[in-house]
């Protein structure tokens, strides 16, 4: 057992857990935040994607202990005061989900790619390539790609308006 501490969605948390505890188990079972999903459990599907220190990672393939001292962001940390994050709103607007199982990972991967490429700098080809590690079995991806493009463009507009 070790004490693992992190800032989870802006809130300092800590718990004594077995060293073999996966980050996704810490999030779902210890912290009861079940928006992060476990799909394949073999780092293929991306349903478990969260951000650790600002970078998208597969939380089923990381120990909670590796994230000790880190800032972790999950799907629950995106909306603020009941207002959906622009990426969440775009997924709803563009019907970027059907069953919704992959959606939390898709949205966290989308935020990661927008952060890295810069809002407004994503084209369809880049988005499709960047989604290599996220599997959706419902939508055929078209509307997910549309939603991410729309969110990226909208966030660029918001950044411009803020300047």
């Amino acid at each position: 057992m070790s004490k693992v501490s992190m800032v989870l969605n802006g809130k300092a948390v800590s718990a004594d857990v077995e060293d073999r505890t996966l980050l996704v188990s810490f999030i779902r079972e210890v912290r009861q935040l079940t928006g992060t999903h476990v799909g394949c459990d073999t780092s293929q599907c991306g349903a478990c994607v969260v951000h650790v220190d600002g970078r998208a990672v597969k939380s089923c393939t990381m120990l909670a202990a590796q994230a000790d001292g880190a800032e972790v962001l999950t799907i629950e940390g995106l909306a603020s005061n009941g207002t959906l994050h622009p990426i969440q709103a775009a997924f709803r607007e563009h019907h970027g989900l059907q069953c919704g199982f992959c959606t939390p990972g898709m949205i966290l991967s989308a935020l990661d790619m927008i952060n890295r490429h810069g809002a407004g700098n994503l084209d369809e080809k880049t988005i499709r390539h960047e989604l290599e590690g996220n599997i959706c079995r419902c939508t055929g991806y078209h509307n997910i790609v549309k939603a991410i493009k729309a969110a990226s463009d909208q966030m660029a507009g918001m950044a411009q308006a803020a300047e």
Binding site: R20, L63, A65, M113
Partner: protein
Amino acid sequence: MYETTYHRAGSVADAVRMIADAEDGKFLGGGQTLLPTMKQRLAAPSDLVDVTKIPEMKGIREEGGQIVIGAATPHAEVAASDLVKSRLPGLATLAGGIGDPAVRHMGTIGGSIANNDPAADYPAALVGLGATVTTSKRTFSAEDFFIGMFDTALDDDEIVISVSFPAAEKSAYAKYPNPASRYAMAGVFVARHSDGSVRVAVTGAGHYGVFRVDGMEEALASNWSPDAVAGIHVDSGGMLHDVHGSAHYRANLVTVMAKRAVAAAG
């Protein structure tokens, strides 16, 4: 996953001591191979020594004409590095094609080469560029470092600290990824150095991991063009043969990927 004890090393000396104290310890890089293996209970180390927070094992720098990459540097950082992109574009391409974005944020060059998966990408770059591997005990040429499938010259208590790549005049990497796993079915790294020497290194296809193709190197040294390698085929005898592809298929892929790599290098 069986029980294990996690340790975070602050220095190389720290890590070596932690491994020495462990009953059956393993070094942990980004964990993108080791953790899935432990989850499947194919590995059950008593202790994990995380080496990714060791300052001297991080970052990318230029030193005496070489590009030196710390062993704990994740693939995403190598792929995004302006230094790597300008001096060794083939290496940047290779790093940016490992796994997927989330995997590239965690997986490290040191972890990848210490594991020496026969389908991993990095071994092709190390051998193709004639890199040097610096460990906690000594230095190796890339060819002496990779011994065979999942086997390297490392001792159990030896840590890879950095990899030094000589700058090349031209470099490129082309791979045919398995559609499901994204691991290379065949990946070919080509490099031409300023003295005119050429290296062609293949990963993913061979039984014993990375290997060089002498015939292609000679052909490219006198004529740097995709046509020069189009008629050169590797012997299918030493190729992997499994559900994903026959030995003949992989042997053919090597020629196709070599042509693509040379074309990409320009």
